[in-house]
């Protein structure tokens, strides 16, 4: 069996590589890494196998092939083949990627999103394993996978960022969750740090905080100004925690305009700001030079720092994000987890909250979870309820924390009210009309009768 592993970021590929080391991705005859560059503008960002430090990750695979060689300038999230072309494409891909004639196994990131979705359509019977690199692993998929994909889902392999927390998808669709333990992943990060030797990390005793940027304005959750202010808040939080220096790793797509307010905040706090422009995942630096503090919004780096490295972390802006995120947005679960952590939730309690958030995101697919969600939301303070599940959604679903009746009930009430009103008013009106007409009515009837004869 040939195993084809699709990865779009170095961090995702590292997670898959660690899963290989942990024995969680089987022992195929050949393991091929399929590199996809999923940046919003792929031409501007290096592919994962061009980033110094990627060597140890690539070493876990027998070969590397590139989706860009096939798609050229077409964006990997957008191109999709027509159904009629699938068999032709399968023959072509097997040839061009050297997959042979035998069975192929697919390991992909998000099975409902291209290119994973069309790969699953082309390699129609390939068993599907999902590997998920961050906190998103714990939440529901936005779309349900097509039946042909559901039928062959084997496992969800994910970093053990929240030990004990069960992913939603595996319980919803009835397949196995496999958590990658910390040691193989940390070991791999160490190897990557040895190769890349990130030189930008200052090597002295000055207490330093790492700020991890996300570029939320691109997701249209925040304006550029709000995002800049959020980063400035991160600086202030770091200073308050005792950092004398902050290292900011902005998201690669973040515009230059983000930096000025951050610099201003650092100047005001009297602390040094170092801006790092390095495509290497932040986690590699965390392993090489653990900072005194990691500050982020809901970046996976904060979770990795907290859980796998035991570093102090601070989350900034989760409330704002939860208010802005659409009810069904996949980022809701990562933000909710970080938000809940900051409020001291853990273990079963955290699971209950995550499941309630998931129910709010997918009430139809997860209808069986409603009762538990109601119990959980009842036990949560009201202002927090409106964060985990948006107020409109709570109302629509008649959940604890709802404001007024749900829309469909309101419509029914309005119809019933209208009927009741009419049943009282109509007879009164009819009576009045009859009396008003009555005086001339008999005369008119008589006139008609005369005319008819």
């Amino acid at each position: 069996m040939t195993q084809l592993v699709l990865a779009s970021t170095l961090f995702a590929a590292a997670g898959a590589a660690a899963a290989v080391d942990a024995g969680l991705l089987g022992r195929p005859q050949e393991r091929v890494l399929l590199v996809s560059n999923a940046a919003p503008v792929p031409e501007l960002a290096p592919a994962l196998d061009e980033i110094p430090g990627c060597g140890p990750v690539l070493a876990r695979f027998d070969r590397v092939v590139h989706l860009a060689d096939l798609l050229g300038g077409l964006h990997p999230h957008v191109w999709s083949p027509r159904d009629t072309d699938l068999p032709v494409l399968e023959r072509l891909l097997r040839t061009v990627w050297g997959l042979g004639e035998g069975p192929v196994e697919l390991v992909v990131e998000s099975p409902t999103v291209n290119p994973a979705a069309w790969l699953a359509r082309v390699l129609r019977s390939a068993p599907l394993t999902v590997h998920s690199d961050g906190l998103m692993a714990y939440g529901p998929w936005r779309r349900e996978p097509a039946l042909h994909a559901r039928q062959r889902l084997r496992a969800l392999v994910h970093l053990d960022l929240v030990p004990g927390l069960q992913p939603v998808t595996t319980r919803e669709l009835g397949f196995e969750a496999r958590a990658v333990p910390a040691e193989p992943f940390l070991g791999l990060l160490d190897e990557m740090a040895q190769e890349a030797r990130p030189r930008w990390w200052p090597d002295d005793e000055v207490p330093t905080a790492l700020l991890v940027g996300q570029y939320l304005a691109a997701l249209e959750l925040l304006s550029a100004a709000e995002e800049a202010e959020l980063h400035a808040r991160m600086v202030r939080r770091a200073a308050a925690a005792g950092a004398r220096r902050v290292v900011l790793k902005p998201h690669p797509s973040a515009p230059p305009g983000l930096l000025a307010p951050v610099r201003a905040a650092a100047d005001r706090e009297g602390i040094e700001l170092v801006v790092v422009d390095d495509p290497l995942p932040a986690e590699v630096a965390l392993v090489a030079h653990p900072p005194a503090l990691v500050v982020g919004c809901f970046s996976t780096a904060t979770a990795t720092a907290r859980t796998l490295l035991g570093l102090p972390t601070e989350a900034v802006g989760t409330e704002l994000l939860l208010q802005r995120l659409e009810a069904g947005n996949s980022n809701r679960v990562p933000v909710a987890i970080v938000h809940a952590w900051a409020r001291g939730l853990a273990g079963d309690r955290l699971q209950e909250v995550v499941d309630a958030v998931a129910y709010g995101m997918q009430p139809r697919r997860l209808a069986a979870w409603r009762e538990r969600a109601v119990r959980t939301l009842t036990s949560v303070p009201d202002d927090e309820r409106g964060l985990y599940v948006p107020r409109e959604r709570l109302t629509e679903l008649a959940l604890p924390g709802a404001r007024g009746r749900p829309p469909h009930e309101r419509r029914r009430w309005r119809r019933a009210a209208r009927r009741a009103l009419l049943s009282v008013v109509q007879p009164l009106v009819r009576g009045a009309v009859t009396r008003w007409r009555g005086s001339g009515h008999a005369a008119r009837v008589a006139a008609l009768a005369r005319g008819a004869s």
Binding site: P40, E43, L44, G72, G73, H75, V78
Partner: protein, 332 residues
């Protein structure tokens, strides 16, 4: 100490109020497969008021040889490109708009093609990008990677040809062409400045090629692009095409090209006239008279033949313009 070798490629980047997008263009220029010293980037800050020049200057460490030319007053795309060309020292020169970007290795590939084919200029396809939607737009010449006579790519008139693909940024040019004025844009033109430019290249340069580049360049779709805006800048389409007419009239094979010119003038003229409802009344009148004069300057038998095969709307718009021009002359 010996003087540093001249760069291999100069890229002229005209930029006006592009602070939010120019970083993409410049980042892409750091990934062109050229050694440091081989690439010269000339960014022309055409009267920006949003800090475009500062954003560009910050790239100096990543783009050795970056030159930022500042116009305190905006002079327009044509003049900005000319200004950039005057500062270019590379053997080959090309253009990149501030809101576009190149795929990795593109410039190295084009420079390599010019080295190998030894022609005056090369042209390439491009991809338009709107959000995540990407569409490949091919240069309308199917013969690739072979040296061609530029004059052989002007006809036929019934189809789009290389003179209908006037994008300066879709190719690379030997800077020697500049000495013959073949790379200069008509100063002060704000529309269609590339039409006379591409016609002159195809009439007067000696050899060119169209090459497939694995790093096809990208063009961002944008609501503010000039093709969407309708204002008095549209009037420049008339002097732009007057130059084309002048170039063809002076050519030894003018008769071969008139049908193509007539076709283009009717098409472009009626396109602008159709949208002229959004212009001020006096601009609209001026456009009508201008297009009419343009049409009247062409051989009338060729115009008649072109109007016969044109659709009703184009015929109506052009005839009305011709009438307006005639009346304008009588009045004057």
């Amino acid at each position: 100490m010996p003087a540093p070798a001249a760069p291999r490629v100069s890229v002229v980047v005209p930029a006006k109020d592009a602070a939010d997008v120019v970083a993409d263009a410049l980042v892409s220029l750091t990934r062109q497969g050229l050694a440091p010293g081989e690439l010269q980037v000339v960014l022309v800050d055409d009267g920006s008021s949003d800090g475009t020049g500062e954003v560009a200057a910050a790239f100096a460490p990543r783009l050795p040889g970056l030159t930022v030319v500042r116009h305190d007053r905006a002079l327009g795309l044509a003049s900005a490109r000319n200004s950039g060309l005057a500062h270019a020292t590379g053997r080959y020169v090309t253009y990149l708009d501030a809101d576009d970007w190149l795929a990795p290795g593109h410039l190295a590939h084009l420079a390599g093609a010019l080295d190998a084919l030894r022609c005056s200029f090369v042209r390439t396809d491009h991809t338009t990008v709107e959000g995540r939607e990407r569409v490949l737009r091919r240069a309308p010449e199917a013969r690739r990677d072979v040296v061609l006579d530029p004059r052989g790519s002007i006809l036929p008139s019934e189809h789009s040809t290389m003179v209908d693909y006037p994008y300066a940024w879709a190719g690379m040019y030997d800077r020697a062409l500049a000495t013959d004025g073949l790379l200069t844009f008509p100063d002060g033109l704000h529309t269609a400045e590339d039409r006379p430019w591409v016609w002159r290249l195809h009439l007067h340069a000696h050899a060119y090629a169209v090459v497939d580049s694995p790093g096809v360049r990208y063009r961002r779709g944008s609501a503010t692009s000039l093709t969407q805006v309708v204002d008095s800048r549209q009037l420049h389409v008339v002097p732009a095409f007057e130059r084309v007419v002048g170039l063809v009239a002076a050519d030894r094979e003018a008769d071969r090209w008139w049908p193509k010119v007539a076709r283009t003038v009717v098409a472009v003229g009626s396109h602008h006239l159709r949208r002229a409802g959004r212009m001020t009344p006096s601009d609209r009148r001026a456009l009508r008279v201008g297009v009419g004069r343009l049409v009247r300057s062409l051989p009338q038998d060729v115009v008649a033949a072109e109007l016969e095969r044109a659709d009703d709307e184009r015929r109506r718009l052009v005839r009305r313009a011709v009438r307006a021009a005639r009346e304008g002359e009588v009045a004057a």
